[in-house]
Structures are given as structure tokens and as C-alpha cells.
Symmetry: none
Subunit: 454 residues, 2 copies
């Protein structure tokens, strides 16, 4: 049977298998979902065996367990390692969903539900592509799967797992489907990722909430001060002001800027899609450069004082922020993390106390486009999507990709089938049905041509 | 009989009368206490008649009723209007009380219970002071009482009541006992109050929360922008930057600054009590000037983005703040409110949308210390407390005082007998027994000398 035929004959089953995963609220950032994490891992082992793996195990970590599976054709053949994650982001705010986040539905040619793209939908494309290659005799390599349950909380235990199980995970190339394409009509492979450093910031003023009439004007207000500190982190040119922050940032080459300028990009459409009148960011760089090849500074959350109905006239005791920077290749997140903490502490006035707690972080990544496996992926995607994919650096972070390179010594092909419009991490996450099947086809085509040789 | 003798002969009865009020949980912010509000109003009419009023009525408003009472000696004589409130703040958290909040007790020389100071204790000083003056033939004026039941929820119906009953409330001077003294050993009269303007600010960026990896660096983050806007509202010298904000602020005179500098103030103790290392505020002004005679800008609440456990890497759609300024006399809260909204909107970048919704506001107040009634109050307090009271402007707001001036055309003497240590609005509210009787004495002494002439 041809790859396309196999897909057509199994569409309903593929979707049912995906839905069985989407129904499990494996929300890693919320502790109450611990049992759901285990359920989801369990479901994956069943599905991986069903898809043709020789064995599939749930392996413990200090946090959520890792699902491991493998299919060994012949120890002498090259090995592909497929990495994915089975955890998802919280679905909140629930009132903004048009469907129930954990009751998947197909409507308007799309699969709706939390995880339908990120990353249950995309991992399923990998697994079903593998199934087809195996069942149709197109597989010429061994395949290993490692699905973690803590990607959305920064993969705190994955690096240690890789180090501990270095031999088990040994592979020649790694496949990851957890990124987006440039556009619906522009297939692309991701050749670069940004790194990340994230902090929790706590500002303490007086030892209790004070009456703003009795104390206002005499005592530093921690919210006012937090705003000042945060406002100062980015200058009028959109440059991050942390001393030394840009030391390891490599300027884009003329060639690279030329490649980026070839990516179709309609700024008016981009603005309309997110509902903003004007874009913003570092001066001297195009929008696509700013959101993929340059660092950024975002306050992801802020809170403090009275946030209820009506008004309360207080000078609060505390104010908090969750702060992140996206980094680019060569910037070291640990170095940046220390830099930020030291800088913020050093500029904080004595009228308040500032506490910076580093949260997760990760390195950026660059994939050379002359890598043989890259060329095979390029061809496979070209067949499935009818167009040669562009090479594009993207703004998101998958810190583990850099860890894989360091620990396992293997490069990763970022074969992502997501689209911006899929609204991952947001209400109404979805995935086009069409793309789900084209993704599966791409993976099967990849295996068809991959034998570890050029 | 002398005033002091009358007090000594009636101490037990005075306390019993106060206790009968303190036992009624007239908690206005909690709807379930509606019946208690009526009970408390009823009890006051009985006590006012008992104290010598000719008549006492419960008058309806759109909310809790107002207790009105009067004693007319002679229509040709001047009239004093006494304003107070019979409602109290909730007693929660109950577990922090050492006594039961609505079962008053005398221990360690203090009266313990919710309302023992604010404002049942202080209103009782007014009423018993009046009783003594009347019974001892020391009264040379007519007296009216207006006790409201909604002070703790912002007096939503009092202004309308004053306008509707303008003739009934006509008076030459108003007495209010609802403020604090500078310290236990430093009697003082409050000669100024700050005004207030309060807003809700909403900043909208993209039409949904965005992935900070995919969009960070290209799209304005509403939290980043809110921080910038807020940080810019106060400059490095602690001055509010809204154009025209200080236009109506009168500079403190050398004389006034000298008076303020005479108020005993231990900065080390002040800092230790609120747990801060350094104070903060407008350059060129002392702490007491800053927290009572100068305007202030406080963000009372802020929120936006992800504020839960762990981390979420988003560029949020919205960010919010609750913002207040304390104003000084002559600053018009409506004018300031418009100024702020216009300024914020004008400086907001086109990358976001800013919405400013004015919340409540109120005028500041100044009582001239050469006012004859002030001089009489000063003398009266000096007799009762054995020390000439200081004239002290305070930082809080009692918007109704300015409303009285505008609607009834009368100045208010802020004859407050409270102390910071009395813990009003907090668990274990109390009032020193000694101060209770000295307050009564002050009021009686005031009437003894007040005849509307110099």
C-alpha cells in the first residue's frame, strides 16, 4: 500500500487514538493533575506498542515519568530518536474556549482541544508516520521514542535522565515535531531556536499593607518600585539594559538576513491576526528577525495589592512578577540568569527588598542546512506538502535540543507541523485535520529515505 | 457641678451606654447585618433623647438610615452640627481577637471591642460632652446630630441627604470626632485632610495571550507597557509628572513647616514599626510633610498575565492596575481625574490601547487655625489633656468634610480622640478609658466657651 493510501484507510483510527490522549488533562504546571500525568504516560505506552514498538516502558524521574519505547530492526542499522512531550499547558482562561479544552471535537476542518497541536497532535504524527513505515516495510533504521511529561515546566529532569540513560538513548539523529511552519502555504523546517531564562521576582516594601492615606508619599510602594525596575529593563531602542546581556549574541550575517527576507510575511495580516495597530521591538531589525533571531524581554505575569472589585486604598506590602527573556544561540542561560539577578538587586533602591528566584532556562539551537538528515526531511516534507520547505529560525525554545547535542552528541531535525493560528498555550488550541495527515505522511516519507547514509 | 465632677459621678452609666452600642454588630460592609444597622440606629435615638435632645428621628436614605437629633435652645443662637457614624468595619479575622469583638470588656485601662474608638467610642464622647454642657447650664448654642450608617462603605448616600435636608442641617460649625491624635502624649487637632482620586487602568495588547517565544520581541507586551507608563508617573525627585498636577497645590508656608517640625516624630521607630530600611518620597519635604501635606501616587493593585504556580511563557493580552493619588486642599479631584486619564492616554504608544475608568474621589480639606471655633476647641482640649494641642494636617481622606463645606457652607473642627495604637479596622480595637473621659471633657469645655462669637 502507498503511504497516502495507508493514511486514508486509517484516518478514523488515528484520530480516535489522538482523542484518547487529548481527553487526559495532563497539565504539568498544576500539581493537582499528577494522576492525569500518569494516566497519559500509560496511554502512550499502549499506543506505542500498538503502533509497532517492540517494548515500551514508563521510566521514573524525580518528577513526572518518561515514556520510552523502541523498535530495533538490526543493531547494525542507524538509529533515530524521536523526542516529544505528553504534558500540556493549563487551559485557563476557560471562559474563552469555544469548546471544552479536554473534550476534543472536529469542526471546520480542525481538531479543537488543548494539546491538539502542542504536542499530542504532533507526537501522534511522528508515531503514526513510524507505524506506516514499519507496517509497509519502508523502515531502514531503528527507532527510539522518548516522551517526557515536563516540557511545559522546563524539563527539569530530562537532562539528568539523558545523562543517566546515555547508552539507551544513543542515536544518530533526533526527530522533534514541536515547532511551527512559517505559514499554511509555506512549509518550513526549523533551523534555529531561541533559548530562555525565566525568573520569579518578589518586591517587599512595608511588613504589612498600609493605609495609603496615612503612609502614601512617605513609604516606597512595592508595586510602584516593581514597575520602575521592570520599565528600566528595556531602553527606548528596545534593547535590554542588563550589562553584558548582548556579549555572546552573534550579529546576523548578510546571507542570513537575506534568507529571512525571503520568508513570505504579510505584516498587515500579522497585525490584524493579533489585533494590534502597531508592532514593537528592537530598532534596526525586521519583525521576523526580532521574533526569531534576536533576544526579547517579556513580563509574563504581574500581581500585587488589591485586585478585587471596587477600590481599596492601600500601599501593599508585596508585589510580584514572572519575567522571561528569550535568548539566541551562544547566549548561556545560566550566565544570563545570574546577570539579571545581580543587576536587578544592584539597582533596587534601599527602600524595598528584591528577591529574584531563577525558574527554568535553556540554550538556543542552530541546525546546519547541509546535514544529510536535514536534506531527507526537506524532501519528505516537499512530497507531503507539495512545496520545498524553507529553512527558518524560530523564536520559541526547546532547551532539550541543545542538551541532546551536548549529552547525546546528536543533531536534531525540527520537523514541526504547527501553525501560528493553532493558538498553542492559548484558549481554542487547534490543528488542521489536513496538516495532521500531511505530518504523518512527511514522517513516513522521511523513514522511507533515511538509512543513515548520504 | 464642675465638668470633671459630673464625669466622675456618671462614669459607670457613660460606659454602660457605650457598651449597649458596642454590643450591636452594625457592620455596614456585610449585608447580613442589615437588622443590626436598624437596631443600632434605634439605640442611638434612645441615647440621644436620654442625653437631652428635644427630638430624635431615624431618617431613611437609599441605604442605611441616618439618625438625626437636635436640641434647640433659642433659634437666635448659633448652631453646632455633630457628624458621626454608627456603622463599623467587619471584625474578621476573629481568631486574632483577644476578646470577643461585640462583647466589650474593660481590661488594662482600655475598652476593648469593635467600634470602641471608630466611631462609637468617639461619638459617645460627643454626646456625653453635650449632655454635661446642657445639664450643667453651660450650653450657649443649638446642637444638631447627624449619625450615618454607611461611613465604612464610602458614605454613598450622605451627600444627597445633605442636599435634600440642607435647611434642617443648617449650622455655623461642624464637629467631627473620627480622627487620631499625633500621639498619646501629644494631643492634636486635625487641621487638614488629603483628597483622593482613584482609577482603574486597563492596558490591552494583542487580542489573546501570545506565546512569548513566537511573538516576544515583535509585539508590545501590555505588562511591560503598563510598567513603563506607571514608572513614568513619578520622576526621580518623587514628583508626579502629570502636566498641571501641581497647579493648585499651595506651597507650605515657613510657619506651617515650623509647626509640622514641632510634631514629635521618631523616624527610626516609624521605620521599625513598618519594617523598612529607608523611607521614600518627594525630595525637599520631611516625612510628616510628605504623608500629610503633599500629594502622593500609589498603585494600590496590579495584575495581568500568568500569576499561578510555576511558569508560563506568555505575552499576555491584558494588564490592569488600580491607581490612586492622594490630593491636597485646593486640588480638584474631578479635574485631576480628567488630567490623569488624558495624560495616560496621550503618552500611551500606538502598540497598545489604554482605558482609564475613574473610580471614587474626594476633596481635601483645610481648617484655618485662626477660626474662632478652632481656638475654642484648642483651649478645651488643652484643659482636658493638660497640654495645648498641636495643629496637625493628616494624610487620610474624609471626603464628606469637604462636602459639608460645599453644601452646608460650614467649616468642620476635626476634634479626634483616636490613637494609632487603637487599631481601628483591625483585630483588638480599643480605646483608653482615660481618653474616653478626656474626650467627653473636651467636648463639654468646647460648649462652655462656644457662643458663635469670638
Amino acid at each position: 500500500m502507498e503511504i497516502k493510501e495507508y493514511i486514508n484507510a486509517n484516518k478514523e483510527r488515528f484520530l480516535n487514538e489522538l482523542f484518547s490522549l487529548l481527553r487526559i488533562p495532563s497539565v504539568s504546571p498544576v500539581k493537582e493533575h499528577h494522576t492525569d500525568m500518569l494516566k497519559c504516560a500509560q496511554r502512550w505506552t499502549e499506543l506505542l506498542l500498538l503502533s509497532g514498538a517492540d517494548k515500551s516502558d514508563i521510566m521514573p524521574t524525580a518528577g513526572n515519568p518518561i515514556v520510552y519505547a523502541e523498535k530495533t530492526l538490526d543493531a547494525a542499522l542507524p538509529t533515530v530518536l524521536v523526542y516529544a512531550h505528553y504534558d500540556v499547558m493549563p487551559a485557563e482562561p476557560l471562559e474563552q474556549w469555544n469548546t471544552k479544552p479536554f473534550e476534543p471535537e472536529i469542526k471546520e476542518g480542525r481538531i479543537w482541544g488543548r494539546g491538539s497541536d502542542d504536542d499530542k497532535g504532533q507526537s501522534m504524527m511522528q508515531v503514526k508516520g513510524f507505524e506506516i513505515a514499519l507496517k509497509e516495510g519502508l523502515l531502514h533504521c531503528n527507532v527510539k521514542f522518548i516522551f517526557e511529561g515536563e516540557e511545559e515546566i522546563g524539563s527539569p529532569n530530562l537532562e539528568q535522565f539523558c545523562k543517566t540513560h546515555k547508552d539507551l538513548l544513543k542515536a544518530d539523529i533526533i526527530l522533534v515535531s514541536d515547532t511551527t511552519m512559517v505559514g499554511e502555504d509555506t512549509p518550513s523546517l526549523t533551523t534555529g531556536l531561541r533559548g530562555l531564562a525565566y525568573w520569579n521576582v518578589e518586591v517587599t516594601g512595608p511588613n504589612r499593607d498600609l493605609h495609603s492615606g496615612h503612609f502614601g508619599g512617605a513609604v516606597a510602594n512595592p508595586i510602584n518600585e516593581l514597575c520602575k525596575l521592570m520599565a528600566g529593563m528595556v531602553d527606548a531602542n528596545g534593547r535590554i539594559t542588563i550589562p553584558g546581556f548582548y556579549d555572546d549574541v552573534q550579529e546576523l550575517s548578510t546571507e542570513e538576513r537575506k534568507m529571512i527576507s525571503q520568508i513570505p510575511f504579510d505584516e498587515a495580516k500579522y497585525k490584524a491576526a493579533i489585533g494590534v495597530e502597531e508592532l514593537s521591538g528592537e530598532k534596526g531589525y525586521s519583525t521576523l528577525e526580532r521574533n526569531s533571531c534576536r533576544p526579547s524581554f517579556d513580563i509574563c505575569g504581574i500581581w500585587g495589592g488589591y485586585t478585587g472589585e471596587g477600590s481599596k486604598t492601600i500601599l501593599p506590602s508585596k508585589a510580584y512578577a514572572k519575567v522571561s527573556t528569550r535568548l539566541v544561540a551562544h547566549q548561556n542561560p545560566e550566565k544570563i540568569s545570574k546577570m539579571f539577578a545581580e543587576h536587578l538587586t544592584s539597582i533596587a533602591p534601599k527602600t524595598i527588598k528584591v528577591k529574584v528566584t531563577p525558574s527554568h532556562g535553556g540554550n538556543g539551537y542552530l541546525c546546519p542546512i547541509d546535514l544529510p538528515a536535514y536534506k531527507i526531511a526537506e524532501k519528505a516534507m516537499g512530497i507531503a506538502f507539495g512545496k520545498k520547505p524553507l529553512a527558518a529560525r524560530r523564536g520559541g525554545s526547546i532547551p532539550i535540543v541543545s542538551t541532546f547535542e551536548q549529552v547525546l552528541g546528536a543533531k536534531t531535525i525540527l520537523m514541526g507541523f504547527g501553525l501560528e493560528q493553532n493558538a498553542i498555550h492559548s484558549p481554542n488550541e487547534s490543528c488542521m485535520l489536513d496538516f495532521f495527515f500531511k505530518g504523518i505522511e512527511t514522517v513516513a516519507e522521511f523513514y522511507k529515505n533515511y538509512n543513515g547514509k548520504d
